[in-house]
């Protein structure tokens, strides 16, 4: 295996979510994490537009367009769901009530700075709830390709794109590795067995530190 698929990255991130955790998944790729909860564990998913404990998408044709998630996709409800307005929703976010927020990233710096809202180019800027989500969840994790499409590192000494938040990310799940951010450093926890440390370091824009043994990053085959 040379790198994980998006589904496999999402699967790995899902393994760290405890039963009963309150979780916000960023729109797009991070939404996949919900599909890979380990058997016997059930997280409660929050969407910033005002639902706690929503479930999977309904069948095509059965959508209720008043019942959508932050990505404007139709969803369903689990027993025990609740509706609330936007101020209460972001009280949950900013007030430290979410256990985990999992977001995508353009860049992550070794001090935990995150850039995921603007490529800094011309065009229409849009931020949504990302800047709120990075401050408040007890654990802010990122799932991402390890490098950009043209092979440049996304894990950097310092972000070059506009920041979403300062020193907010604590764990990064990439297509090659699982890396924690501790005291301003990238600390390698898991990597693909097929990669050497030096291979991984060469694709990472800041030093990878070791703090205890590095585990093999193993994931199942997923369609």
């Amino acid at each position: 295996m040379t790198k994980l698929s998006n589904a496999q990255i999402a699967w790995r991130a899902a393994q760290d979510i405890e039963d009963g955790a309150y979780v916000n998944l960023g729109i797009g790729f991070p939404e996949m994490v919900a599909q890979y909860q380990p058997p016997g564990r059930q997280a409660i998913f929050h969407t910033e537009n005002g639902i706690l404990d929503f479930g999977p998408s309904p069948a095509v044709g059965a959508e209720d367009w008043d019942l959508i998630n932050a990505g404007k996709k139709a969803v369903t409800l689990n027993p025990g769901a609740a509706f609330f307005h936007h101020a209460d929703s972001f009280a949950m976010v900013r007030g430290g009530h979410l256990d985990v927020a999992i977001l995508g990233a353009y860049q992550v710096a070794q001090n935990g700075d995150l850039a995921n809202w603007s490529v800094g180019a011309k065009g229409v800027p849009a931020v949504g709830g990302a800047m709120d989500l990075v401050h408040g969840a007890k654990r802010v994790a990122v799932i991402t390709e390890h490098v950009t499409k043209d092979g440049k590192p996304k894990l950097l000494a310092a972000c070059t794109l506009p920041l979403t938040g300062v020193a907010c990310v604590t764990r990064i799940y990439t297509s090659l590795a699982v890396i924690d951010i501790v005291d301003g450093h990238f600390v390698l926890r898991e990597k693909l067995a097929s990669l050497t440390f030096d291979d991984l370091q060469s694709q990472t824009g800041a030093p990878l530190h070791l703090d205890g043994p590095v585990q093999d990053l193993t994931v199942p085959e997923l369609s």
Binding site: W65, D66, A126, V127, M131, H135
Partner: protein
């Protein structure tokens, strides 16, 4: 006391040029499509209102609702968190052509600024956007050793709101995630104008389940079977 207004046209008749207008909804859910379209109708007929400042989470989608309001050139400035959508062509073209101003606000800060406007809180501190481009020029203060950004309240002349059940006193309930910004905006405008899908007499709504108490509402107009932006856009509708 009866806050009902017989027609959509009368409900939006007081909104003048240059007004600041909060419009409820998150994407299409909770968007008061019929009230927005009534405002466009007035503009088509009279050339007014124009030069509006609109506060919404988004910037419209397709060619109905908020997108149509923008497309008709009625909006001078938009305050929102996420001006992208499946089909954002209207806003995108006007913005890139410099024909509409944008104030981009993080979504939670936008919600809290509106709540603050309604609650008489002129400013508050939030960790959101600290150290980013969206806090440039804003006052920073440290509390318990952590830096926070000072944000100001947002108020409006009018709020256009969509509710599910409403009584003649203006007590309101919402439906599912169509609640979103609607109850907040209802509190933060001088004149809150609500379209309700079901109009009922006072005493019909259980006092325990009222989400917006009538004190925040000035006008109620009934719109049975309201249109959904998502459905209109899938049908590639264009308004008018």
């Amino acid at each position: 006391m009866d806050k009902t207004i017989p027609t959509l046209a009368e409900a939006v008749a007081g909104i003048g040029d240059g007004a600041t207008v909060m419009i409820g909804g998150f994407g299409g859910s909770g968007a008061p499509i019929e009230l927005i379209h009534a405002l466009i109708d007035r503009h088509v007929a009279t050339g007014h209102p124009t030069g509006l400042t609109v506060i919404n989470n988004n910037a419209g989608n397709g060619h109905v609702g908020l997108a149509a309001l923008i497309e008709h050139g009625m909006v001078k400035k938009l305050i929102c968190s996420f001006p992208r959508s499946a089909d954002p062509v209207v806003f995108t073209e006007m913005y890139l052509a410099g024909k509409i101003e944008l104030e981009l606000v993080p979504q939670g800060t936008l919600a809290e600024r509106i709540r603050a406007g309604g609650a008489g809180i002129p400013a508050f501190y939030t960790p959101t956007a600290y150290g980013t481009d969206l806090s440039h020029g804003k006052k920073i203060e440290e509390f318990d050793g952590r830096p926070y950004v000072q944000e100001r309240w947002l108020k409006a002349d009018f709020a256009l709101i969509k509710a599910h059940v409403g009584d003649t006193h203006g007590n309101l309930t919402y439906r599912a995630a169509a609640r979103n910004f609607n109850p907040l905006m209802a509190t933060a405008a001088k004149q809150t104008i609500v379209q309700v899908s079901h109009l009922v007499p006072p005493g019909t709504i259980d006092p325990e389940t009222v989400i917006t108490p009538g004190i925040f509402v000035q006008s109620v107009v009934q719109v049975t079977n309201p249109q959904q932006e998502e459905v209109l856009n899938r049908a590639k509708a264009v308004y008018p």
